[in-house]
């Protein structure tokens, strides 16, 4: 091979500089994509840090809805949903297995049940083709914030001060003054009774989603699980005197006596109903359809149950159900993944329910 002309010292320096600049530019662009140059970027890690800052770090447990129990059952579609969504579980006669989790809100795994917090139901349906539908639902139909930015601001504003163990009233007031939607949420919590049992609660998707039918038509919907058990009210005045695990023990006792059922109901958005704002309820007269029945058969401790080592990421969806443009959804998906990675990497201590001998009796 002919030897190329030797380079002058100047040419060498120029070419070396060009190589360094090209490699440096690529590295810089990479750092920019990763957000390393913009510490203000709202990352999933910052959201989960805020949850930990709010309720303390409890290794091995979910960073939100830390206290829970697993349930197992099935869903039977009645065929009415087939016109709205091609998801196989809505076909007439469809039956799919379900793994679920009941939980109370907050990141403290040992918290007593007698608090005014979310009562929640999370479900994972496994469809015949192996795809899944996961959903986490609350007993309150609206959420306190509409965006991930506000979620962070709300967590930070209501974080307990180290000195008092209570949120700083001035910060809370400043936050609330700027957030009428959070005030509306708090008013809802004050004005509405808490269900007396997990079994007679209604659980709402809160976020909107889209149902896609066989022809590809998409409709904005919300859903809820409506219990067969008649509603009864929890006496808020005596909450603090209740046993620490009374809600979970009640659920397990009822399941021992027999299965519990809920109807899955979808609400179709009407004209002008926002699909991107989880703080706003839709009018009560919207068209609704009952799509099938959820039957829960038994409860197990999460310690050795099927619901702990997965996350109820609301964007794990089968064909026929898709995300809406609600900005909370992607943030939930990202934060659940981050919380899951953190807790799964930590040794898992026994849950509060596993340490409660009387509760253990009820799930045996």
């Amino acid at each position: 091979m002919p030897t190329p002309e030797p380079l002058s010292a100047g040419q060498r320096t120029l070419r070396l500089t060009a190589i360094a600049l090209i490699a440096g530019a690529l590295a810089l662009a990479f750092a920019a994509s990763a957000g390393w140059l913009t510490p203000a970027r709202l990352t999933p890690g910052r959201i989960v840090d805020a949850l930990q800052g709010h309720d303390g770090l409890h290794p091995g447990f979910r960073r939100a809805h830390a206290k829970g129990v697993c349930v197992i059952g099935e869903f039977a579609g009645n065929g009415a949903g087939a016109a709205l969504s091609k998801a196989a579980l809505f076909a007439a006669g469809a039956r799919v297995p379900v793994v679920g989790r009941f939980s109370t809100g907050g990141g403290i795994p040992d918290a007593p049940d007698g608090r005014v917090v979310f009562h929640s139901m999370a479900l994972s349906f496994t469809l015949p083709d192996g795809s899944q539908w996961r959903t986490g639902m609350n007993h309150v139909p609206i959420f306190p914030v509409a965006t991930p930015q506000d979620f962070l601001a709300f967590q930070l504003a209501t974080r307990p001060a180290p000195a008092t163990g209570k949120p700083d009233p001035a910060r809370v007031a400043a936050y609330l003054a700027a957030h009428p939607e959070t005030r509306a949420f708090m008013a809802w919590l004050r004005e509405h009774p808490l269900p007396s049992s997990f079994a007679n609660g209604t659980y709402y998707s809160v976020n909107a989603f889209r149902f896609i039918d066989a022809a590809g038509t998409a409709r904005t919907v919300r859903w809820r699980m409506q219990p067969e058990a008649p509603f009864a009210e929890l006496d808020k005045a005596t909450l603090a005197q209740r046993d620490a695990d009374f809600l979970f023990a009640d659920l397990a006792t009822r399941l021992r006596a027999g299965p519990l059922r809920w109807q899955l109901i979808v609400t179709l958005a009407g004209p002008g109903d926002a699909g991107n704002d989880a703080t706003r309820p839709w009018p009560a007269d919207r068209r609704e359809l009952t799509l099938g029945t959820l039957t829960l058969e038994r409860a197990t401790l999460e310690d050795d149950g099927p619901c702990r080592d997965l996350t109820f990421d609301p964007l794990i969806l089968p064909a026929g159900i898709a995300a809406s443009d609600d900005p909370l959804l992607a943030a939930r998906s990202a934060a659940y993944a981050r919380s899951f990675t953190r807790r799964a990497g930590e040794p898992a201590p026994r849950s509060a329910l596993a340490r409660d001998p009387s509760f253990r009796e009820t799930v045996r």
Partner: protein, 185 residues
């Protein structure tokens, strides 16, 4: 001894450059989606998983091409340490091109994330469900991706050094265009 060709087989070159673009894109997409809570994350994730699995198929193909068609020798004038460094870094690149998609798939399997690529197409898990191994593999996916990016940067700098300083035909041996007869690059 077989005569060694002056340049990489056209298939090897086609695979090298198409995969180079896709892998660099995957690295950028990966760190972008993992660091945001915006809806962009979902769009990127929907791209990342199928593209990553396609790259797994491509690297297997590429290895087959490489085993069938010997690569051209490095210039004899190259110091031995650079020859070894080139060999080791290519080995590392191959290892990472296999490891990243496999770790990606294995971490989702262990974390009980269904891997649904298209309606009706859900890939089976390749390892049993195990939360601790999910966490480990999720972190390994990040660490290996950063190692891959660092290695690609060095590889790029070394290739440009061959092209602009040594001008010894190494770049031309991988160049995507056809070399004219007698041209040494």
């Amino acid at each position: 001894m077989n005569a060694r060709p002056a340049s990489f087989h056209p298939y090897a070159r086609l695979l090298h450059w198409s995969m180079a673009i896709l892998i660099v894109a995957m690295l950028f997409v990966g760190v972008g989606m993992a660091s945001t809570v915006s809806p962009l994350r979902q769009t990127l994730l929907a791209l990342h998983r199928p593209l990553g699995l396609a790259l797994l198929v491509l690297v297997a193909l590429r290895l087959a091409v490489r085993l069938r068609h010997r690569p051209p020798p490095l210039p004899a004038a190259l110091p031995a340490w650079q020859r070894h460094a080139a060999g080791a870094s290519h080995g590392l690149l191959y290892g990472l091109m296999f490891a990243l998609p496999l770790v990606g798939w294995a971490m989702l399997s262990a974390g009980d994330y269904p891997l649904t690529l298209a309606p009706g197409l859900t890939l089976p898990p390749i390892v049993p469900r195990d939360a601790a191994l999910y966490a480990l593999r999720r972190r390994a996916h990040t660490a290996l991706a950063l190692l891959l990016f660092g290695t690609v940067l060095l590889h790029l700098a070394a290739a440009l050094q061959h092209a602009w300083l040594r001008r010894d035909g190494v770049m031309a041996s991988m160049a995507p265009w056809r070399r004219r007869p007698g041209q040494s690059g």
